[in-house]
C-alpha cells in the first residue's frame, strides 16, 4: 500500500504535480466552461515549447549543483544572430542550416560559462550573471538592436506549419509541428541523464562534488560539457522562439529565467543538486503555463502573474525542504533472527 503511494508520488513528486495540474484544470473548467477546450490545450502546449527546451538545460545544471541565469540571453543571442547571418548571406540557409548555426553559437557561449566555472572554480551564479550582461551587450552593440520582421522563407514557412488542426465550430485549434522535435529532445535528455556515464556524473557532481572527484569523474570536463550543453539547448530554444514568434527581436526572452527556473524547481529538481527528472520538469513547465493561462482568463494583470510565479518558486523550494526533513535516515531494523556472532 505504502509502496504504491510512493510509486505514484514518484521520486521527485511527479505524481503530486500531475495531480495539481488536474486540480487546477478542473477548477478552472468549473469556473469557466470555456477553459477546457482543445484550442486552450494546444495554446498552452505551444506556449510551453520554447520554455520546455530551456528548462531541459536548466534541469541539467541544477542537477549538477549549479545554476545558470544566462540561458535566455544565450537563446536570443543565438536565434537573432542566426537570422542576421541568414540575411547577410543573401541566400536562405534552410531550417537545418539555421538550426546548426544557432546550436553552434549557443554551445560556444555555453563553453565560455563552462570554461570560467571549471577553470577558476567560480560560483556558477556569479559567472552566469556576469556573462549574461556581457552576452547581451555584445548582441546589442555588435550584432544588432533592430527588430527584424522578415524571416528567411524556409523559417517563415515552418512557423505556420501545424502538425494537425482540429476544427471546433468557428475556431480552428492548431497544434504546431514543433511538438515533435521537443518531445524527441525530452526523450534524448532523459536518456542522456539516466543511461549515460555523463548523466550519472551530473547527478554525482550535484550529490557531492568532492566524492565525484575521488570516484574518478573528470569534474572539470564534466562542468565544461554541462554548460556547453545548456548553451546548445538554449540555442535550439532561441531559434525555435524566433520561428514561433515570426520575427527576431533582440530585446526578447531576457528576464524569462525566473519562470523557467521556477518550473524546474517545481518539477522536483533540487536547488542543492543531485535530484531532478525530465518528466518532473515537463510537468513543472506545464503547471506554470496552466496557471499563467488561468490568471489571464481571470483577468489578472501581468505584474501579478510574475508575482504568482515567484510564489510558486518559493512554494517549490519549501516543499523540497519539508520533504528533506521527512527523509530522515531509516532505522536499522532490529535483527529478529539470532545473530550468529
Amino acid at each position: 500500500m505504502n509502496r504504491w503511494v510512493n510509486r505514484l508520488r514518484g521520486r521527485n513528486n511527479e505524481g503530486v504535480l500531475a495531480l495539481t495540474i488536474l486540480v487546477v484544470v478542473t477548477a478552472m473548467t468549473l469556473v469557466n466552461p470555456d477553459f477546457f477546450t482543445v484550442s486552450t490545450l494546444f495554446g498552452i502546449l505551444r506556449n510551453s515549447l520554447v520554455e520546455t527546451v530551456f528548462a531541459l538545460g536548466v534541469l541539467i545544471v541544477i542537477i549538477s549543483g549549479g545554476i545558470d541565469v544566462s540561458f535566455p540571453v544565450i537563446g536570443i543571442f543565438a536565434g537573432y544572430t542566426t537570422i542576421v547571418i541568414a540575411q547577410g548571406g543573401g541566400s536562405d540557409p534552410g531550417v537545418l542550416g539555421a538550426l546548426l548555426v544557432a546550436v553552434v553559437i549557443g554551445s560556444l557561449l555555453g563553453l565560455v560559462n563552462g570554461g570560467l566555472i571549471a577553470r577558476f572554480g567560480l560560483p556558477t551564479l556569479i559567472v552566469t550573471l556576469g556573462t549574461q550582461g556581457v552576452f547581451r551587450g555584445v548582441l546589442l552593440a555588435y550584432i544588432g538592436s533592430k527588430y527584424i520582421a522578415e524571416l528567411p522563407a524556409s523559417i517563415a514557412q515552418l512557423s505556420t506549419t501545424d502538425l494537425f488542426v482540429v476544427q471546433q465550430g468557428p475556431v480552428a485549434a492548431r497544434l504546431h509541428v514543433f511538438v515533435v522535435p521537443v518531445v524527441l529532445l525530452c526523450l534524448a535528455v532523459h536518456w542522456l541523464l539516466q543511461r549515460t556515464m555523463f548523466g550519472r556524473g551530473v547527478y554525482a557532481l550535484g550529490s557531492d562534488a568532492e566524492s565525484a572527484r575521488r570516484a574518478g569523474f573528470p569534474v572539470a570536463r564534466l562542468q565544461l560539457a554541462i554548460y556547453a550543453l545548456v548553451g546548445l539547448l538554449a540555442g535550439i530554444a532561441g531559434i525555435a522562439h524566433v520561428t514561433l514568434s515570426r520575427n527576431a527581436n533582440p530585446y526578447e526572452l531576457a528576464g524569462t529565467e525566473l519562470d523557467i527556473i521556477a518550473a524546474v524547481v517545481l518539477g522536483g529538481a533540487s536547488i542543492l543538486g543531485g535530484r531532478g527528472s525530465v518528466l518532473g520538469t515537463v510537468l513543472g513547465v506545464v503547471l506554470i503555463a496552466v496557471i499563467k493561462n488561468s490568471l489571464i482568463l481571470m483577468g489578472v494583470p501581468g505584474t501579478w502573474q510574475r508575482a504568482a510565479v515567484g510564489v510558486l518558486l518559493v512554494a517549490g523550494v519549501s516543499i523540497q525542504a519539508l520533504g528533506a526533513r521527512r527523509k530522515a535516515a531509516r532505522r536499522r531494523a532490529v535483527e529478529l533472527e539470532e545473530a550468529r556472532a
Binding site: A204, D208, A215, G216, G274, V334, R340
Partner: protein
C-alpha cells in the same frame, strides 16, 4: 600461506604535506608488499588519513614521490590512482547521498573502465554480486541518504571491493559495523591477501589491528616512529608506540551513593520493531553501560530517551518528575543530553569553527541579564572545553572540517557537556578515538558523573564499558537480557551475555 605474488606494489618516499600551520606529514616513507596487510596506527591527527589521501591522488604532496607497480608518478589524480589499482574506503565514506546503493558501488569501476553508457540492470547486478560476496545484508535499491551509518559504511566497503584492487586502503572501515560484519570483512581481506592484494588498514581498535595485520607502522605527529611485524607488538606496546606513554585501561569506577534518588527512571519503554519492556533506574553519579550487538536495539533505546525516535509506550521520569518525550526539544528541556554516534551528520556544523560548534547547543544558557549573549562567558566556556578535551587544532577558530576524525568527536562531546545536562546519553563515544584519548574521554565521563550527572554509555567496546561502568545492561533482540553490576562487570561476563 597462499601468497602468490611478492614484491613492492606501492612505495611512498619522503612524503611531506603541510596544511596552513599544521605539518600533517613530515617526510614519511612507506612500502607495501603484495599480499601484505599493513596496519597504520597512530593518535588522532597524526596524519594517517592524509597519507592515504595522498596515495590515492586526492591530495597533492608538497614533497616526495610515489611509485606504484614500478612506475614513479609525480602528479596523480584520483582517476589515475583508481586505474593503477588503488581502492580506498574513506574515513568519511565519500559516497553520493542522492544515488542508490547500487550506483554508489558499481559506478566507480565503470568510470575507471571509461564506460560511456549505463545499463541500470547491469549496475544493479554488479552491486548485488559484491554485496553477496561480502555476505552482508544491504538493500541495493535504497538511496544512500536514507541508510543508517552502518549501511553507509558497508556501501563504502562494497564499492572498494567491486574491483580487483592492487592496493586496498581501509581508513577505519569498522567504526559502525557489527561483530558479524567485521568478521565478514576480515574473511574478505584474507581472501584478497591470498590473491596478492596489498591492504592498508587503519583502526583504533587495537584488537582488530593485532588480529588482521601482518605488519604495523606507527605514526606520531606526521612521522613514522615505529614499524615492524605484528608479532613484535601487543596492546600495551602498540599503545605506547602511538602515544609515547603508558596507557592504562583497568576498571576505575568512582564509588556511588546508593541511597540517592534516581535521576532517571525508565519503565516499560517500548517501540515497535525496535525494543520492548525496557526498565531501569539511573542514580546521580552513576555510569550505566548499554551494550548489545548492533541491531539489537541498543542505539534505539538511546535515541528514544533523547526523542530522536520517541518510544510508543512506557514512562520516563527525570529527577522524580514524569516527562513526556515526544521530540528532541522535550528531552533537552528535561535536562537530557545526547552525543550521537554519527557525528558527521547528526552532531556538527562541519564548515563552522570549533568555537561555534562547542556552544551551538547552549547559547540559551549564555545570556546576560539584558537578553544578549554574554560574549565573555561564551569565550570562557569555549576555552575551558577546548583545553579540557585537548582538541588538536591550531585555534578554536579552525573549521570542524579541517580536524581529524577523532578530534571532531571531542567537539561533539564538548557541545553537550557545555549544557551541563542532568542525564548524559552517549552513543559510542569513543568510536574513532585513539587509545590515549579514549582514556581521557572516559576520565571526562568519570568527572562528569562525579558532579552528580547520570551518564549512560551505549557502546560495543566491552573493555571500555568494563573500565567505566557501574552497571551494564545487555540488550538482545530489543529486550534487556541481562544486567551485570558491581564486581561482576568483566569482559567475560558481558561477552557471555551478548552471545549466550
Amino acid at each position: 600461506m597462499g601468497t602468490t605474488t611478492s614484491g613492492t606494489v606501492l612505495a611512498a618516499r619522503d612524503i611531506s604535506k603541510r596544511f596552513g600551520g599544521v605539518q600533517a606529514l613530515d617526510s614519511v616513507t612507506l612500502e607495501i608488499q603484495a599480499g601484505d596487510v599493513r596496519c597504520l596506527a597512530g593518535e588522532n591527527g597524526c596524519g594517517k588519513s592524509t597519507l592515504i589521501k595522498i596515495l590515492s591522488g586526492v591530495e597533492v604532496p608538497d614533497a616526495g614521490e610515489i611509485e606504484i607497480g614500478g612506475t614513479v608518478r609525480a602528479r596523480m589524480s584520483p582517476a589515475d590512482a583508481l586505474r593503477a589499482g588503488i581502492q580506498v574506503i574513506y574515513q568519511d565514506f565519500s559516497l553520493f547521498p542522492n544515488l542508490t546503493v547500487a550506483e554508489n558501488i558499481a559506478l566507480t569501476p565503470l568510470i575507471a573502465h571509461r564506460r560511456k553508457l549505463i545499463d541500470p540492470r547491469d549496475v544493479r547486478a554488479r552491486a548485488a554480486a559484491v554485496v553477496a560476496e561480502l555476505g552482508v545484508r544491504l538493500d541495493v535499491d535504497a538511496t544512500v541518504e536514507e541508510l543508517t551509518v552502518a549501511d553507509r559504511q558497508l556501501t563504502a566497503i562494497c564499492r572498494a571491493l567491486a574491483e580487483q584492487a592492487r592496493v586496498l586502503f581501509m581508513d577505519e572501515p569498522t567504526t559502525a559495523l557489527t561483530q558479524r560484519e567485521v568478521r565478514a570483512l576480515f574473511r574478505v581481506v584474507q581472501t584478497l591477501r591470498e590473491r596478492g592484494v596489498a591492504t592498508v588498514f587503519v583502526s583504533h581498535k587495537l584488537d582488530e589491528v593485532l588480529e588482521i595485520s601482518q605488519h604495523v607502522t606507527v605514526m606520531r605527529n606526521g612521522a613514522v616512529v615505529a614499524s615492524g611485524r605484528v608479532e613484535e607488538f601487543d596492546r600495551m606496546s602498540l599503545a605506547r608506540a602511538m602515544t609515547g606513554r603508558d596507557v592504562r585501561d583497568q576498571r576505575d569506577v568512582p564509588s556511588l551513593d546508593g541511597t540517592a534518588r534516581p535521576v532517571l527512571s525508565v519503565e516499560g519503554l517500548g517501540l515497535d520493531g525496535a525494543f520492548e519492556d525496557v526498565t531501569f533506574d539511573l542514580r546521580p553519579g552513576e555510569i550505566l553501560g548499554i551494550t548489545g550487538l548492533l541491531g539489537s536495539g541498543r542505539s534505539e533505546i538511546a535515541e528514544a530517551l533523547f526523542g530522536v525516535t520517541p518510544a510508543q509506550r512506557g514512562r520516563v521520569e527525570v529527577g522524580g518528575e514524569q516527562v513526556d518525550i515526544r521530540g528532541i526539544d522535550d528531552a533537552v528541556a528535561a535536562g537530557i543530553g545526547y552525543v550521537p554516534s554519527d557525528r558527521l551528520t547528526e552532531g556538527l556544523f562541519l564548515d563552522q569553527s570549533i568555537a561555534d560548534n562547542v556552544v551551538a547547543g547552549s547559547l540559551d544558557l549564555h545570556r546576560a541579564r539584558s537578553g544578549l549573549l554574554d560574549r565573555a562567558r561564551l569565550a570562557r566556556t569555549i576555552d575551558t572545553f577546548f583545553a579540557a578535551l585537548r582538541i588538536k587544532a591550531p585555534s578554536v577558530a579552525a573549521p570542524i572540517r579541517s580536524l581529524s576524525g577523532g578530534n571532531q568527536q571531542r567537539v561533539v562531546l564538548a557541545k553537550w557537556l557545555a549544557r551541563g545536562p542532568r542525564v548524559l546519553v552517549l552513543n559510542s563515544p569513543t568510536v574513532g578515538v585513539d587509545v590515549g584519548s579514549k582514556e581521557e574521554i572516559l576520565d571526562i565521563l568519570r568527572r562528569e558523573a562525579g558532579r552528580g550527572t547520570g551518564v549512560i554509555v551505549v557502546s560495543d567496546d566491552i573493555p571500555e564499558l568494563v573500565s567505566v561502568c557501574h552497571r551494564v545492561l545487555v540488550v538482545r533482540r530489543g529486550r534487556i537480557h541481562q544486567v551485570v553490576g558491581g564486581e561482576r562487570v568483566t569482559e567475560d561476563s558481558i561477552l557471555g551475555g551478548l552471545s549466550a
